[in-house]
Symmetry: C2
Subunit: 157 residues, 2 copies
């Protein structure tokens, strides 16, 4: 089970954009260049973030991407969900329907004990992701490396 | 991000085997038949469980699979790890190495704030899986459907 690389790219890009001047849009090519990422592939993920309202995409000579809302209002779960989709990693296929006493009219995704146990764990993961924001990450990065904001701003200019 | 169907099959099969008489091995074909699963594909997963010590595989006329240890000592995490492998879903590719001030000698999988935040969430998921055992699942199933153990035993005989 593997998450898309796009999650790593998207999270770092959101932190980077949180350091730019508010209102300034950064072209996808510039955002990709910071980490030597392939622009076209990063663009695809940036568009997914824009569809989720995490980024705002503008066109024109000074167009590009900027944060769609305050970094304190963007959780890691928001970013992961925008890239990976909202579906659970464990997808109950309701094999109990074909088991002893299985009933075609029961939704085992809801009633099966195993399905519930797996969902409980997935909820713990999502909760932990939802408890951390881009602002939290940014704060920790700045504490560890006070030069990061300015260095990043330079590279994105 | 999607978990293998094999996880669902493996968990249900472990619960089913916990209801058989201790020492009795059940052929893969019989275990597959209970849920109308493809035997060859289920076998592959059962062998992964055997490699992890969750099942014991025996050959010969009365051969097959049985639990390798007490159901109270088999956690959902054990089963998930046996099927999916031990790697995290989020795989840090250390893109900070190519970022502003990135250093080739630093292991960003350990030091990157985003990598740490993602690992924290994954740990919450693993902890929740580790807190639930096959015996816990079996107990809940039996409370909800007291006929399940005997019905399953019949099908596996």
């Amino acid at each position: 089970m593997k998450m898309s690389e796009g999650v790593e790219w998207a999270l770092h890009t959101c932190v980077n954009l949180s350091w730019t001047d508010p209102g300034d849009a950064v072209p996808a090519a510039r955002l990709a260049e910071v980490f030597s990422l392939p622009t076209a592939y990063l663009s695809k993920h940036l568009q997914a973030l824009a569809r989720a309202g995490i980024l705002i995409s503008t066109t024109g000579p000074r167009g590009g991407f900027r944060l769609g809302r305050d970094p304190a209002s963007i959780t890691l779960l928001d970013v992961v969900t925008a890239i990976e989709g909202p579906e659970d990693a464990f997808r109950c296929r309701q094999i109990l329907k074909d088991g002893p006493g299985g009933r075609p009219d029961v939704d085992y995704r809801r009633t099966c004990t195993i399905s519930q146990a797996m969902r409980k764990a997935e909820l713990a993961w999502r909760t932990a992701l939802a408890e951390q924001t881009i602002a939290d990450v940014r704060r920790t990065v700045e504490q560890r490396d006070p030069t990061a904001p300015e260095a990043t701003r330079e590279r994105l200019r």
